[in-house]
């Protein structure tokens, strides 16, 4: 029960502080005088015009490009095994992943139980 009270108090502190900061932003935004520059509302592209499609995120550019560079061997194995076009290959890998996660969680639980 006490854990729950501490959690509630911490949440109250976090939300209250955030609310104060957010209100400050809104207040300042409403009451200051600035010159609005309309031409700056296009995404910045170092002088090049960018369309909405060009600024959107692709999964390749987002995360996998870095994974493929840093863990090249693992990436190649995963790509060759998962992208076979056969659904069961993907399913086997996902089950394996879940099994490993389950084993790790069980080990952690056992460690705490032994304690």
């Amino acid at each position: 029960m006490y854990v729950f009270i501490v959690m509630l108090k911490l949440t109250a502190i976090m939300v209250l502080a955030a609310l104060l900061l957010y209100t400050t932003y809104i207040y300042v935004k409403r009451h200051r005088r600035v010159i609005i520059t309309e031409y700056k509302i296009q995404p910045y592209g170092c002088g090049e015009a960018l369309t909405k499609e060009q600024v959107s995120v692709t999964s390749k550019g987002l995360f996998w490009s870095i994974v493929s560079k840093v863990f090249r061997n693992l990436y190649t194995i995963l790509r060759d095994r998962i992208h076979t076009g056969v659904l069961s290959d993907w399913f086997v890998l996902m089950v394996l992943f879940m099994a490993i996660a389950l084993i790790v969680l069980t080990l952690i639980a056992l460690l705490f139980a032994v304690r």
């Binding site: 955030a18 957010y22 300042v28 935004k29 296009q42 910045y44 840093v70």
Partner: protein, 329 residues
């Protein structure tokens, strides 16, 4: 009930709330900029206030009162909400330390502390995607990759002294409050000293990474991807981003000072020697972070990830294993 409400209000607004964190962030930024400049044979902030002391405040106010530019594809208010929540989370984290006049602690509160430290990275990653642009997206992607490697190390870094303190008899168990009070006694123990020394190294490395300081400033690499994930941000949003960065520096440095260096120990924080010892320890952490920043060059993303995986992660694993299983006399 009234006591609870008052304690929450004081923790949120005064100490260690927004007022304390704001002043600490301002003074820390000044110290950090001055130190960094001296290490590079520059003068640093100089003109506003005595020895440029008011420069960070002037920078913040200038940005806060500037035009808030929002591009046609960007979100307007969500970035500020995420930044505010992250600063709020860090203030809540400070309320769990013995620094607070009304500390909030319980058994296993380390889980809550870890949860609260996760807010700033998540907010910064989302920030890049909330103002899409090729540079912000690359920046966010790089930061996400760094954080995926850094967060487990950070988790083990703050878990190690807590586990060690709990095994040595600190109560409540697995609490950062009790571990903070007990940390200095761990340095008296040979195994504890080795473990804490290892953890101190991993903590400083992971701080550089989390705060995007050299050699890990890859997500905002200025000469390469404009300003990385902050490219589209200016005016008040940039002011809040800089504020979050400074608050992160303050809170993490305080956390390291308490959990790994024992805070004001062997004195108490309310005594003058205790306050001085605590300030010296805090400034030592800031000095170390600035020193590494000033003396290293930026790594490439894969170099940074491999460095963290090859050298820092194994050390943090060794430290947590030692903390969990080594016999403590």
């Amino acid at each position: 009930m009234l006591y609870d409400v008052l304690s929450i209000l004081i923790n949120t607004i005064v100490f260690p709330g927004l007022v304390f964190v704001g002043i600490a962030a301002w003074l820390t930024q000044w110290f950090y900029r001055k130190l960094y400049a001296r290490m590079q044979n520059r003068v640093g902030p100089r003109f506003i206030g005595p020895r440029g002391l008011l420069q960070p405040l002037a920078d913040f106010l200038k940005l806060l009162l500037k035009e808030d530019i929002v591009t046609v594809v960007a979100r307007e208010k969500e970035p500020i909400l995420m930044l505010s929540l992250s600063i709020g989370a860090l203030i809540a984290l400070l309320s769990m330390l013995p620094l607070s006049p009304f500390p909030l602690y319980t058994e296993n509160d380390i889980i809550l502390a870890i949860y609260l430290t996760l807010w700033p990275p998540v907010a910064l990653i989302l920030l890049g995607f909330m103002a899409p642009n090729p540079y912000t997206v690359i920046g966010s992607s790089r930061y996400m990759s760094l954080i995926i490697v850094c967060e487990p190390i950070w988790l083990m870094t703050i878990l190690t002294p807590v586990v060690l303190a709990t095994r040595s008899g600190a109560t409540p168990a697995y609490s950062i409050f009790s571990a903070s009070l007990y940390a200095w006694k761990l340095w008296m123990n040979p195994i504890g000293a080795i473990v804490l020394a290892l953890t101190l190294f991993t903590a400083v490395m992971v701080l550089q990474c989390k705060l995007m300081l050299k050699p890990f400033d890859i997500p905002e690499a200025e000469t390469e991807i404009v300003a990385g994930l902050f490219t589209e941000y200016s005016g008040p949003k940039l002011a809040y981003i800089i504020m979050l960065h400074d608050v992160e520096l303050v809170v993490y440095a305080l956390l390291v000072s308490y959990l790994l260096l024992g805070g004001p120990a062997p004195y108490t924080l309310t005594s003058l020697p205790g306050a001085l010892v605590f300030i010296v320890k805090y400034l030592a952490v800031i000095f170390l972070v600035t020193w590494i920043k000033a003396s290293t060059a930026r790594l490439r993303i894969e170099q940074a990830l491999m460095f963290m995986l090859k050298y820092v992660l194994p050390l943090s694993i060794i430290a947590i294993i030692l903390a969990t299983f080594a016999p403590i006399p």
